[in-house]
Symmetry: C2
Subunit: 198 residues, 2 copies
């Protein structure tokens, strides 16, 4: 079983890789971010891609979409810190084989990998139910505006970045604030981020 592990935090990556290598018949390669993983996947054949979500250059979710299009036979397992409905939904939509929280002990990870090897899908019902819970109510434009606002950009700067009038940008933000029942753009951005919608 050849595994590619994509995770940007070096200590976590090296620790997980060391432990997986202790298991019989696991060969583990490491990638420092999504982009590196994508390159590596094109050069060698792997059985399983084990990846974090929040990484620079190319997020785990973006990587998943790429895999789905270019190497649909490759099995994928997500390990992530954040229990965000939006993440789970997008991962499931991209045909992921496993979805694990870093909140689980390492034994669970190893166990899940065995199951995935055997052809099973391991996503807890609890997580799946959550994903079906709230749908993301934001439009693409609203999402973009909100993301920039959350970083402290002014309405004017946001308008320029999105090639729209200032008033329009304010409108998008206002809509987003209202949809998310927030009181201002910062609250709205925080909430949306928490839900994995940004």
């Amino acid at each position: 079983m050849k595994i590619l592990l994509a995770e940007d935090q070096t200590m976590v990556r090296t620790a997980l890789a060391s432990l997986l290598r202790l298991e019989a018949d696991y060969e583990v390669d490491e990638a420092v971010d999504g982009a590196a993983a994508q390159q590596q996947l094109q050069q060698e054949h792997y059985d399983i891609l084990l990846t974090d979500i929040e990484m620079p250059h190319l997020s785990g979710l973006e990587l998943l979409q790429w895999v789905q299009q270019h190497q649909p036979a490759l099995k994928t397992v997500i390990i992530t810190t954040f229990n965000r409905a939006g993440y789970i939904k997008r991962a499931v939509d991209a045909g992921v084989s496993g979805f694990l929280l870093k909140d689980a002990p390492i034994a669970t990870l190893i166990d899940s990998l065995h199951k995935v090897c055997a052809g099973a899908r391991v996503i807890s019902n609890e997580l799946l139910l959550q994903a079906l819970g709230q749908q993301d109510p934001l439009t693409e434009k609203e999402r973009k505006a909100l993301r920039l606002a959350g970083q402290g950009m002014s309405t004017q700067a946001i308008a320029e970045a999105l090639f729209i009038a200032e008033g329009t940008a304010r409108n998008y933000l206002s809509e987003a604030i209202s949809k998310l029942h927030a009181n201002n753009r910062v609250e709205a951005a925080r909430f949306a981020h928490q839900q994995g919608w940004l």
Copy 2:
């Protein structure tokens, strides 16, 4: 050598603990957050406390201060995700024996622990220099106001939370914005957070 490992992410904690246990003569206990670690320290004797910073209930830095007062002989090592000058400064002030970024490979952690056992201090010069770089220019009031603002609270809500007039709250924020060369409260809060000042 008896080690207490405090880290809230279960997968990381169990993975590190497993690896450390593979080393000869390390006995490792685990604590799920700062508060749990503090309790455990009172019940048993440890040689080294290895702790994360960002944890619920009691942060690693708060834990350090407690250790300094109650068990000054205990050696402490910080492992943290974030390279924030404020963190390093506070850790050094609290007499830490080691400061490592999760950006380093696991081998470095093991190596550093050995050195700390032997009585050395392991904090890279690079990090120390950084810590001496910028000083936190915020007053306590400014810091509190900025923290709340960063969470999306309105000026009025902040004023109520801090028992001050609305105008005063705006003043604190304005001062903070100016000191940090930001354009608005959100940018200021992000920057301060990045520096480890919140």
